[in-house]
């Protein structure tokens, strides 16, 4: 089994030193953004479960024919099905992989993983977080206490147990995870990439700092002047952002805090389709919903206006 490794500091610094970190405009189309990712790269995915998943970006990457990405995420749901079913990824690093809490086990995940077509590296949720955090901090590992004693640890030779030099306890060290690219959906950002995330942050800030390259999709682009009026609301700084794409409803059919809730009718019908036939059902979903639409708005139209607006109504009104 190939073991991922913490990258050397000199490699990390070298790659970062070559990035353009000036205050420059990075607004581009989904298609242009997808060209920033190449086959086989490691890609960290923002959000968690059914929240702020960068769906539009994943949708575009499938359309653009990217293959064999190594994808990492805190918790993986229906987008994970699409990653495997489309061939966009054959290796998922995450703590949990299903279609969502209410639908049981993903038949798509099962088929790909049990057959050995795809690899699912399971870590505890905190371990995924600490791996991104070590990556964000520029250190090769983070210490943590869970996973000791479990088969989750036994399955992950990438981690190390040490005897703490201060307290003589067993401490687990998990290796830094510095993806080649991070794709993250945010509420708003300016053209330079200064981004705001409202409500639940998940692991997105660490992920953004850890990656070698960051693509943001955003519900809307705001001005740098707006950013400067409340600098303590900025969650991701411009200099770690390489692409900004404005995509309203860019997490559909998942949710975006305070903007829309998940579009459950669409997800229900998706799950019925692929779980009854993980190959044919997936092919038909990909054909109809990913390859066929001319634009992201066309895709939203397939979800249906009523469903989209209903999700927006619930997302905005329930506080």
């Amino acid at each position: 089994m190939h073991l991922e490794k913490a990258r050397s500091y000199s490699d990390l610094r070298e790659r970062l030193s070559r990035r353009d970190r000036g205050l420059s405009e990075k607004v581009m189309s989904l298609e242009d953004a997808s060209a920033l990712i190449t086959d086989g790269q490691s890609v960290g995915i923002g959000g968690s479960m059914m929240s702020r998943t960068p769906m539009a970006m994943i949708w575009q990457l499938i359309r653009s024919g990217r293959k064999n990405l190594v994808c990492s995420r805190s918790i993986t749901t229906s987008e994970g099905d699409l990653l495997l079913g489309s061939g966009l990824s054959n290796h998922i690093i995450t703590s949990w992989f299903s279609q969502g809490i209410m639908w049981g086990i993903s038949k798509v995940m099962r088929m790909h993983v049990e057959s050995g077509q795809a690899r699912y590296d399971e870590w505890s949720h905190l371990a995924i977080g600490m791996r991104f955090r070590a990556g964000a901090m520029g250190v090769p590992f983070m210490p943590m206490r869970p996973m000791l004693g479990s088969d989750v640890l036994a399955s992950r030779p990438e981690a190390r147990v040490i005897n703490c030099p201060f307290t003589s306890e067993n401490i687990l060290l998990v290796p830094a995870l510095n993806p080649d690219v991070a794709i993250i959906h945010v509420h708003s950002c300016d053209p330079y990439g200064n981004a705001r995330i409202e409500g639940l942050q998940f692991m997105d800030i660490d992920l953004a700092m850890a990656a070698d390259k960051v693509i943001l999709t955003t519900e809307r682009i705001i001005s740098n002047d707006q950013i400067r009026r409340a600098p303590d609301q900025t969650k991701i700084p411009f200099f770690c952002v390489d692409g900004v794409v404005e995509v309203p409803f860019g997490s559909a059919p998942h949710e975006c805090y305070g903007v829309y809730e998940p579009m459950m009718n669409h997800l229900d019908s998706y799950v019925r389709k692929v779980n009854s036939d993980p190959i044919g059902g997936m092919k038909s979903y990909l054909d109809e919903h990913i390859y066929a639409p001319r634009s992201w708005n066309d895709y939203l139209n397939l979800i249906g206006l009523e469903e989209v607006l209903g999700a927006a109504h619930r997302g905005r009104s329930n506080d």
């Binding site: 929240s51 809490i101 905190l126 996973m147 000791l148 004693g149 401490i171 998940p262 997302g315």
Partner: protein, 257 residues
């Protein structure tokens, strides 16, 4: 009252679980029955119970009729006391701010180890890849763990195929020796009984029976030999108040039907 006294298994599990919580505790609640039980406890006898969700919600306000679809989404976070990053909320457990971790289980063994990762293949049955740990391993590693689940022999096994969320590992001091210095399996609640763990051997032990359930019935539905407390109280039937609150919280029976 007669009408109210009819209840589903899930309602029963939620009510029995809620009773295990104490006022003033900080509880990390998973989705499903745990969430519902914590919300019920808060409204019934623990006004000062603090509920945490995995997505980063601190001091959640679970509103009747508005149960969140998962503990990682906005509906669980709104009108809470604080929202945090996912790592931060789990680090609260590691630091020790949380008393009780509370989740459902798919497969448990006699030392309270939980499996949500992998069912081994046997004979002509192939292996099954389950969703995995999520925060389960972290919660079980760092808190006093409560588990609620349906009581089926195939779920209560001698040894789980894969220890996703550690209980007492191989019993006695093996958990502590692995480096897990805090917490451990604390309670298991099923529709048949309430279980604790022996202080020394760390084997699962029946500490209370639900009304109408016999010790042998519990044993017959369990895939390993159970310990039984010498004094076995019978749990109280769900009260009208408990059922009323529960049904206000989940009027459509999303989690309890």
């Amino acid at each position: 009252m007669t009408k109210l006294a009819e209840f589903t298994t899930n309602e029963h599990l939620a009510i029995l679980s809620a009773r295990e919580l104490r006022n003033g505790q900080v509880v990390f609640a998973g989705i499903g029955i745990p969430l519902l039980a914590a919300a019920l406890a808060q409204r019934a006898h623990c006004p000062n119970l603090t509920i945490l969700f995995e997505g980063g919600t601190i001091g959640a306000l679970v509103e009747p009729g508005r149960l969140p679809p998962s503990t990682n989404d906005q509906r669980g976070a709104k009108r809470s006391n604080m929202v945090l990053g996912s790592s931060e909320v789990l680090l609260l457990l590691q630091r020790g701010y949380v008393d009780i971790g509370f989740m459902g289980g798919a497969q448990i063994d006699k030392y309270g180890n939980l499996n949500s990762s992998l069912i081994n293949g046997t004979g002509n049955k192939s292996a099954i890849r389950l969703p995995g740990s999520g925060g389960g391993n972290d919660i079980a590693s760092l808190t006093n763990l409560m588990v609620t689940m349906k009581h089926e022999k195939r779920r209560f096994v001698e040894h789980v195929d894969f220890v996703t969320s550690p209980g007492w590992l191989r019993g006695r001091s093996t958990r502590h020796e692995s480096g897990l210095q805090s917490g451990g399996a604390f309670r298991v609640v099923t529709e048949l009984a309430v279980f604790g763990f022996d202080e020394h051997s760390r084997e699962m032990k029946v500490i209370a029976l639900n009304p109408g359930v016999s010790p042998s019935q519990v044993q017959e539905n369990t895939g390993f030999e159970l310990l039984f407390d010498s004094d076995l109280p019978i749990t109280q039937l769900p009260t009208g108040t408990e059922l009323r609150i529960l049904r206000e919280l989940d009027p459509d029976g999303v989690l309890t039907s």
